[in-house]
């Protein structure tokens, strides 16, 4: 369970609050979309959850563990964070080594590392690419590889930052299938509202660092006025209907 209690946050280089009065609770196995215009603060919320920024006011709890320096390794073990920029997430020479990086770091035996790595690769359908060098991958393959790098940790919580930005329609559909097949707590930020519609039961709308609305996905994504007032548009699939 994730609990964010009255959190305020400001980047050290910025002069006004990036996030203000953020309050939310996400239960086990929920799938939650965070939507909002560019610069609304979506990515910042994710960074706070994994402790990449620690200078916030208020309290954040991951499974009752407070997000603070001494708990970081335990918390990060539970959360798989898939970056918006897959290229920056992958750093080993081959896919296999990159996916094996986390279980190796956590001290699993050689066989266990291998088992987890193969399983993670299989669950995103790129096991046959395992020895491929990272720089020879397409954008879609890089995204799948970066998902595998966090799946090999068996995380309880998965977070995805703008996962479909670099994907073509085919890979986007594949990504949605994979996402729906993963049975963990999921948080997805996006301004691809169709993606949220297809993958999340609950949606949180943020604007200028504040939560504007938190509720059932259909309820929020069908509210044309609410979306337009916050710099977003109705999902295409809803316009057609």
């Amino acid at each position: 369970m994730i609990e964010v209690k009255n959190v305020n946050f400001k980047y050290s280089s910025s002069n006004k609050d990036t996030l203000s009065n953020i309050d939310l609770k996400i239960n086990k196995d929920e799938s939650v979309g965070i939507i909002g215009a560019n610069g609304a603060g979506k990515s910042t919320i994710l960074k706070l959850l994994v402790g990449l920024e620690l200078q916030f006011q208020g309290e954040i709890l991951i499974n009752d563990l407070k997000v603070e320096k001494k708990n970081l390794s335990e918390i990060r073990r539970k959360i798989g964070y898939v970056f918006q920029d897959s290229e920056a997430q992958l750093f080993m020479p081959t896919i296999y080594e990159d996916v094996a990086f986390a279980p190796k770091n956590y001290g699993y035996s050689e066989e266990k590392v291998h088992e987890r790595t193969i399983k993670a690769l299989e669950s995103v359908g790129i096991a046959e690419l395992k020895d491929r060098q990272i720089y020879r991958l397409s954008g879609g393959q890089k995204k799948l590889a970066s998902i595998a790098t966090v799946l090999s940790m068996n995380p309880e919580i998965l977070i995805f930052d703008e996962p479909t930005v670099t994907l073509d329609p085919k890979n986007r559909r594949r990504f949605i299938e994979i996402l729906n097949s993963l049975k963990t707590t999921k948080i997805v930020t996006s301004h691809d509202l169709d993606l949220i519609y297809d993958t999340c039961d609950r949606t949180i709308l943020v604007a200028e660092g504040k939560i504007v609305k938190d509720g059932r996905t259909e309820e929020i994504l069908e509210d044309k006025e609410l979306l337009e007032n916050n710099g977003l548009e109705l999902p295409l699939s809803l316009i057609k209907r």
Binding site: L52, F83, F91, T94, F101, A102, N105, Q133
Partner: protein
């Protein structure tokens, strides 16, 4: 730009071999790290006009390749690009300030080395892990900015003198940003520079042997003018 892409592939090649090799795999990471640091320190300590020594330093890469059981022919084929890369790296040396401050024995300590030592103390563990990856990130960014520039200034062949400053500036900021993200990605997957190299395995006799051989080899190729000696045999 094709030379740069080749150099990128070459770095991957070296890195890959080191990773696939069974013998090298068993060497304690701390030992490999020490050797790598020594290698880089020696390489950057070479006078920037001393091309011969720079070239000689590639012998260590031969050494790794041999341990990696790569066929010599392939190594020779590929090494010419490694040479090129080493030359490029050597030419990049002016970044290091080479004013001598004092001497330790016969080894000159320069301001460049001092600032480098600070770097070592702060985060060399991590930087070394990243170095190949970082070089690639850097080259990719060069390629990207170069393409963006050419698309906007198609008629100009070289880079307009005035654009240089801002191009280099944005290049640096972007590579640093990328490196920062790569580091975060490692951190989020359980990498801890303080404990990583220490806890994983015990140091064995094999490690000690590798360390000694590596150091002797590096010091030899750095200070004994091998190419010159071999050359003298034929005059």
């Amino acid at each position: 730009m094709s030379k740069i892409s080749n150099a990128i592939k070459e770095v991957h090649f070296i890195d890959n071999k080191a990773n696939n090799n069974k013998f090298l795999n068993k060497i304690h990471p701390l030992v490999k790290l020490i050797i790598t640091i020594i290698y880089i320190v020696l390489l950057t300590s070479i006078n920037k006009y001393d091309l011969i020594t720079t070239l000689t330093m590639s012998i260590y890469l031969w050494f790794i390749s041999l341990l990696g059981e790569i066929s010599i022919r392939r190594v020779i084929e590929r090494l010419k690009i490694v040479f090129l890369l080493l030359i490029i790296l050597g030419i990049a040396n002016p970044i290091l300030d080479r004013n001598v401050i004092f001497y330790i024995g016969i080894i000159p300590v320069t301001t460049g080395i001092i600032s480098m030592l600070t770097l070592i103390l702060k985060g060399f563990f991590t930087v070394i892990m990243l170095i190949y990856r970082y070089i690639i990130v850097f080259f990719k960014e060069v390629e990207r900015i170069w393409t963006a520039y050419q698309m906007r200034a198609p008629k100009q062949n070289g880079v307009n003198f005035k654009a240089w400053g801002s191009m280099i500036g944005s290049l640096m900021i972007r590579s640093i940003d990328k490196a920062q993200m790569v580091y975060e990605s490692m951190e989020l997957r359980g990498f801890n520079p303080e404990t990583f190299f220490v806890k994983t395995q015990k140091i064995t006799k094999r490690d000690a042997l590798y360390l000694i051989i590596g150091m002797v080899l590096l010091v030899t190729i750095r200070w004994i003018p091998i190419f010159e000696l071999v050359g003298n045999l034929f005059v």
